[in-house]
Symmetry: C2
């Protein structure tokens, strides 16, 4: 890791702390930092509280380097943001979207949003350092192509990278959305955890894996594809063709379907009222009903949590992570869902695997995907830039 990488990953650091973290002497760090300040790569800001003596200045990537564009595509929504090199969000927009419309329509909307947001924060296209994009499907990271994405079949073998690269003359990096959530959380913790998982439950279920302090993508970029792990051999048929996949039983659409059935069966006045008002129920409706104490909604939430926990138990036995962070639309349900997941995991996993295991909602919350896209963009730009040690 170069000094510049260390500054980026620490989100503000003093020279002394930088020397401690790096393998270099204070003298060497001071001289390298002086050079990078002069080149305009780093800048000094504010003062940091110190244990005594003079207050060391905080170093960060120089905001005059330019801006990053971050895009988080979900199956049903789209988010675009402009971020500083140290990942402060300068402008952000999110809206419903349907990725199944295919690359043409979706990317023209992405382009329009990028232009608007850049204008909104007074940045020019030339200032774009790089672009990071998260997509809800498996990506071949080296080619930037989507590979057999089940939620977005029209995008198979499409390279978002090649399509967008010319727009800003800036490099474009594409990764799976959950990998980016994991990258975002890794950055938030300044790489403080070595082995953890981020589970996203929305339209589908996916898992980002951090192993030995690095995002792990697997041999074909499909690592973390946990949505099709079987939790009930006699369960309903999934769109993948198999029976009882956790995604077919515990993701957003399954939860909405069970809620619709409960509303229609007269099991919940609240859900029936929501269904009558909107014509259809979503995960968010169930979350709202559950938080309001609706018994039928709570039963659905607890069942989904137990199934997710059953899948997670297998994964925890195999991977023995220190933390599992849960994100995506499901997080709006609140503590009841989390309690059901925990109970199920602790019941099924080995004592040793769960001795210090923490299961919680992703601390970055709904920002995880965008922050992750920014981390990807900046990290890979620093890598392309080569080693400024």
């Amino acid at each position: 890791m170069t000094l510049l990488d260390s500054v980026f990953w620490s989100a503000g650091i003093s020279r002394d702390a930088l020397a401690t973290r790096s393998a270099f002497s204070k003298t060497r760090v001071n001289s390298a930092v002086a050079g990078m300040l002069e080149q305009g790569v780093l800048e000094e800001v504010g003062v940091q509280h110190s244990t005594g003596g003079r207050r060391p200045e905080t170093l960060r990537l120089n905001r005059r380097l330019g801006v990053l564009l971050g895009v988080a595509m979900g199956a049903t929504g789209l988010e675009v943001a402009v971020l500083t090199p140290d990942l402060e969000v300068l402008a952000r927009h999110s809206e419903p979207a349907d990725v199944r419309q295919g690359p043409g329509l979706v990317l023209s909307r992405v382009r329009a949003l990028m232009r608007e947001l850049l204008a909104q924060c007074g940045a020019t296209p030339k200032q774009v350092i790089s672009i990071g994009i998260g997509v809800p499907g498996p990506v071949d990271f080296d080619s930037g192509q989507l590979v057999n994405p089940p939620l977005m079949p029209e995008w198979d073998a499409f390279s978002i990278r090649d399509d967008l690269r010319a727009d800003y003359g800036a490099p474009v990096f594409v990764d799976n959305d959950v990998n980016l959530m994991a990258l975002g959380e890794l950055w938030r913790m300044q790489r403080g955890l070595q082995n953890f998982l981020v589970i996203k439950v929305g339209t589908g279920i996916g898992c980002g894996i951090v192993c030995h302090g690095v995002v792990y993508r697997g041999t074909n970029g499909s690592a973390g594809d946990v949505g099709h792990i079987c939790v009930d051999p006699s369960g309903p048929r999934c769109h993948c063709g198999n029976l009882g996949c956790v995604e077919a039983m515990a993701a957003g659409p399954a939860i909405a379907r069970l809620a619709t059935e409960a509303a229609q069966a007269g099991e919940s006045a609240l859900l029936a009222e929501m269904l009558a008002a909107r014509g259809t129920l979503t995960l968010q409706d169930v979350a709202q009903a559950s938080r309001a104490g609706d018994t039928a909604a709570n039963a659905i939430v607890q069942h989904a949590g137990a199934l997710l926990g059953q899948m997670l138990a297998s994964v925890v036995n195999f991977f023995n992570p220190s933390h599992v962070f849960i994100g995506g639309g499901i997080a709006r349900i609140g503590p009841l869902f989390l309690a059901a997941v925990r109970q199920s995991v602790y019941h099924r996993s080995l004592a040793l695997s769960t001795r210090h295991l923490e299961i919680q909602y992703a601390p970055l919350g709904e920002r995880a995907g965008l922050i992750g896209a920014g981390v990807l963009a900046m990290q890979e730009s620093l890598r392309l830039r080569g080693s400024v040690r």
Copy 2:
């Protein structure tokens, strides 16, 4: 990785190949190698076929450095070997053993075998460089202690390392048996694969994980504990307390129990004959009957393979490895078992995860554990020795 590490991991290498693999120039490599030859750390042997010009000498760790002791403890057997620093087995002994007898009895037998085998190959105790030991349970790698080992409860919190360290004044390294099989296969392939799994099916079921080219042990050293992944929520109760663990349904004891029931139910004359002759059936009896074409044995083998494959499908979806190697007593069954495993994995895993997935028996076969113990001993000794670059 130091030059010395590179020589060790390549199992015989020319200076030119060493320079190619390392980040150093040929001149620097030649000079470092000359120094290590003079110090007696490396030696040159034989000649290597070259593409032309003079034939480069092959470098390897100097056998005069001493010998390694490798121990592979299984639930029902014990193996001890003396190996050269480049992992040639000089002497080896295996015998049935019951780890449940506890550390006292088992380790005194290990000590006796070590003495005998060293004498057998004319090595003195002082020549022992280090000792590598594999055990069938979770190990806290840093302390060398077993942690809650389900197959060997008497060993909980026992440190084999501390117990044996004084015997030879040599460092002792302890790891889980399947981790060592994975380490052995990694060495055999000269680190040629980045992400693969080794599954051991014997008395229990465990998994060694190689991630980013390194053995991954997890947060508490329990990574790969796949034996208690549920494959049938209404299956039989496992010794861990849960229902339908793959270990309770597809490991050696379950296979032997099903075969005994088949013999007693008159479903197989061959199994009944074996049962009458020996009073009990083992995994090896079922393997033998299956290879002889016995229908009942084949059905049991195929059922066990399908269940193992079902567990593996979850793990493959999560981890997306390039290879799964299967070892342990189960390997003696032969192609029928492997075919059942493959069919089950390809049926349940995502197309992308299995596109290039290879499932085969572990190439090192029954030697994997001992070779892995040797790799551990030598690798950790080189690490302790520090960096000779």
